[in-house]
């Protein structure tokens, strides 16, 4: 197997001291229990592939793609090994050699055809206006799988008087490099042009993965607008609702470990919820919901099991409401939730909108 991407990261594989600190809190290792599921194993396998110590088998493909890219291992690693760079390089090499998960391949194809990862027909965008301060980018999961939640978010933005416009967005392509594929350049170009057309100075995203993509992905480096996550915006606004419910918060990996946004969501929640409780694992130690890195598409059951695990941790806090601010986490938690589990799950912005309506209708939410 050709390993031109791995070659660049050889030093990282050699620097790995095999200490196994990366076992702890790896959501995949916690589920599977075999050492081969850990980041340490991925470093050993990468070196094996690079130096021809091991030949390709389908289990190698499975191994490298069973990682949510949650970054917990990098935080635990005392040798500061660039684990995710190595894993991404291995994925790229696998794909370049023709080994790719059908789910990922299909995703790439449908994005090319339809502009979104689900191959759904484009939905008409409402709330389009000229001269808005923010161009709002919702992303595929929000638009096509969590549209009820997103409707609420949009309602909230309007209610709070945020000047925003929607536009003809297509998939930002953030997931592709993580599954070893190239982004679809036509989409990148399309998004850039559409954002420009809005005339907005800022791009507002609800999905942390999209936020990360627009902010850090070199393909978008000439975007020319400030990229803002909705938690950063909401934290600056005046929020005038309250709830007595016990509320807990799940840090999405893309927002937390990848971008260091831990406090803004908490500050918002504390403004409206007097009973805020943390899960045992929070901020940089928050366990992953299992949705990222292409795992939900390729290993659905494993992905849901990770979400179940995190949900259990939320239930352990005795919270009535689990909040997050990520359509993917939200979607995975909802899929994992059993009917008898009484906890309510929302995005923060969605929940705020509900609370505001409650003020009107006097409902007990």
């Amino acid at each position: 197997m050709e390993t031109k991407h791995l070659e660049k990261w050889k030093k990282e594989m050699l620097v790995c001291i095999k200490c196994a600190y990366c076992f702890g809190d790896c959501p995949i290792y916690s589920q599977l229990g075999w050492e081969s599921a850990s980041a340490r194993a991925k470093m050993i396998l990468s070196y094996g592939l690079l130096t021809k110590g091991i030949e390709y088998t389908d289990s190698i493909l499975e191994n490298f793609f069973q990682c949510t890219t949650c970054k917990q291992c990098e935080l635990n690693c005392p040798a500061k090994v660039k684990i995710l760079d190595v894993i991404e390089a291995a994925r790229k090499d696998l794909v370049d050699n023709g080994y790719c998960y059908p789910a990922h391949k299909l995703m790439r194809e449908v994005v090319e055809k339809s502009g979104n990862i689900y191959g759904e027909e484009k939905r008409k965008k409402e709330s389009v206006q000229k001269g808005a301060e923010y161009a709002l980018f919702v992303g595929c999961v929000g638009t096509y799988r969590e549209d009820e939640s997103i409707k609420r978010t949009i309602k909230l933005l309007k209610k709070l008087g945020v000047s925003f416009t929607r536009f003809d967005e297509v998939c930002c392509g953030g997931v592709f490099p993580y599954v070893g594929l190239d982004n679809y350049q036509k989409n990148v170009q399309h998004n850039k042009e559409e954002i420009k057309k809005t005339g907005a100075k800022k791009l507002l995203t609800t999905c942390p993965m999209c936020y990360r993509t627009f902010k850090n992905n070199p393909e978008y480096s000439d975007l020319g607008v400030e990229v803002v996550h909705i938690t950063q915006l909401l934290n600056k606004l005046n929020i005038d609702v309250k709830t007595d419910k016990v509320v807990t918060y799940h840090d999405p990996c893309d927002l937390g470990r990848h971008l260091g946004i831990y406090e803004e969501p908490r500050e918002i929640i504390k403004k409206f919820a007097s009973h805020f409780v943390e899960m045992d694992k929070n901020r940089e130690n928050a366990h992953c919901c299992g949705a990222g890195g292409g795992v939900r598409g390729a290993f659905t059951r494993l992905s849901i099991n990770m979400a179940k695990n995190r949900l259990k941790e939320a239930l352990n806090t005795k919270a009535d409401v689990l909040l997050t601010e990520c359509p993917s986490c939200l979607h995975n938690f909802k899929n994992a939730k059993k009917k008898r589990q009484r906890i309510q799950i929302y995005n923060i912005s969605e929940y705020l909108s509900i609370l505001m309506d409650r003020g009107k209708k006097n409902e007990d939410l």
């Binding site: 050699l14 095999k18 200490c19 196994a20 076992f23 050993i44 130096t51 500061k80």
Partner: protein, 473 residues
């Protein structure tokens, strides 16, 4: 042949997949040798059944904890069955009234300590790998760490063990009492046996109360030679610190670079120390250590009892291992001859001469470690893909072991012998080898349990198994 084994543990806990075999072929050492199968037993009965079958069929069985051993202890030399014991991770009992706890072998050191903290107690051995290493692995290697200077190694905290012997028999060794003089100290025999005499399936451990308070300090020295003298003087000066460590300037440079610290570049070494107890005893001990360090030429001493500042002090020590891996672009750290120990009065000779060996062989060797126990870690920095570097390292290693033995020291202070230190260990213990072999033979006549380790490991440590690097001429 392995169908029976699969039946015992169930399909979910059995693997003969190549990827799993490739991963379980190594631990944190330099070795790589594939097992035939890996199993993850969940009960003592399963382990007994596996061992009985393996003994009948003469299949090697290799117990494994977290695979953080640095000597190849958990590497299956002849293939066979790797017993991954991490599923057996229950803390069975915490009996504060008897100052003990009972645990399964897969319990992780730090997880046990987190539980014990709530009761105001701790399990003292504190190995650097405590975040992940298992109690079974710690007992099998007689691991220790920075607090061993005051609280002893793992052996000093093991009261009793349940062990599955190499023919499948389950035995209870030791007691639940702090002392016992009722016959052979068989639990101790298992401590440090590196998985060659039995599979530890339960441990009764002695606990210690968490101290009321701790304080830590660091003393910088211009001259490496003064460090050993200061340490000997501290240890013989009538106090027992709860930690006494050092690092040399190769380690200081690495830590500065990797972790953006600004430790003085002109320091040849830093001594780190900690005292625990109550305020009065700590003040007294810290003051005494400070005076000794000053007497031996320390040019700067920082002391703190603030938890955050103490964390910063220990961060340097915790970073030593990983940081040395990034000392220079094309060099990485190899776990070789990494834990010789000498009597405390010889520490200065050891440290100074280790550096001379490095210079003479033109090889970078960083030194640091639990110097209060006479133990010095040697970080060999080499390019592991060049055979010439291994040859150089091999020569330096043999000189290090000769040095340690000439100073009255020992081949391994805490990591064990495994596959990497056999010839030197055999030389050091030549008058005990016979007894060791007789014991091994009596308990394991078919030599199924972790064969080719300790006194049975090959003499050439570089060819004991394949090395896990792509070495070229």
């Amino acid at each position: 042949m392995f169908e029976k084994i699969k039946d015992i543990v169930g399909e979910k806990n059995f693997s003969d997949n190549l990827i799993d075999k490739y991963i379980y072929a190594s631990d944190a050492s330099i070795y790589q040798s594939l097992p035939s199968v890996i199993v993850r037993p969940g009960t003592v009965e399963e382990i007994q059944e596996i061992i009985k079958y393996a003994n009948k069929e003469r299949i090697p069985v290799i117990p494994r904890g977290a695979g953080t051993g640095e000597t190849g202890g958990a590497v299956p030399v002849d293939g066979g069955i790797v017993l991954d014991l991490k599923r057996m991770n229950k803390i069975k009992e915490i009996r504060i009234g008897d100052v003990l706890c009972k645990v399964e072998p897969g319990v992780v050191n730090n997880e046990l300590n987190n539980e014990l903290k709530e009761f105001g107690f701790f399990f003292p051995p504190t190995p650097g790998s405590g975040r992940v290493c298992t109690i079974g692995g710690m007992i099998a290697n007689n691991a220790s760490g920075m607090r061993a200077v005051k609280y002893g190694a793992t052996r000093d905290s093991v009261l009793g063990l349940k062990v599955v012997l190499p023919q499948g028999e389950l035995v209870s060794l030791g007691t639940e009492t702090i002392v016992h003089s009722s016959g052979y100290q068989l639990a101790r025999l298992m401590v440090g046996s590196e998985g060659t005499l039995g599979v530890i399936v339960e441990a009764t451990l002695r606990l210690r109360p968490l101290p009321e308070k701790r304080a830590a300090g660091r003393a910088m020295f211009y001259r490496l030679g003064d460090v050993g003298k200061a340490v000997s003087a501290i240890i013989t000066g009538g106090i027992i610190p709860s930690a006494l460590e050092f690092l040399d300037n190769i380690v200081i440079k690495s830590v500065n670079e990797v972790f953006n610290l600004d430790l003085p570049k002109n320091a040849e070494a830093i001594v780190l120390f900690e005292c625990d107890g109550n305020k009065a005893s700590i003040d007294y001990e810290i003051n005494k250590i400070k005076k000794v360090c000053q007497k031996f030429g320390s040019f700067r001493i920082d002391i703190s009892d603030d938890p955050q500042e103490m964390k910063e002090i220990w961060k340097i020590r915790d970073s030593a291992f990983p940081a040395t891996c990034r000392y220079k672009e094309n060099l990485v750290r190899m776990p070789l001859a990494e834990d010789v120990a000498v009597p405390i009065s010889k520490v200065s000779d050891l440290i100074v001469n280790l550096h001379k060996i490095g210079l003479k062989n033109n090889i970078i060797i960083g030194t640091y470690g639990h110097v209060g126990e006479g133990l010095v870690h040697t970080a060999f920095l080499i390019n592991p893909e060049l055979s010439e570097q291994w040859e150089k390292a091999k020569k330096a290693i043999s000189e290090i072991f000769v040095l340690a033995q000439n100073l009255g020291g020992t081949t391994s202070g805490e990591h064990g012998i495994g596959l990497s230190k056999a010839p030197y260990f055999k030389k050091e213990r030549k008058r005990a080898l016979n007894v060791m072999r007789k014991i091994k033979n009596a308990l394991d006549p078919n030599n199924i349990l972790n064969p080719h380790k300790l006194m049975d490991a090959p003499d050439d440590f570089l060819t004991a198994t394949k090395i896990r690097y792509a070495v070229r001429e």
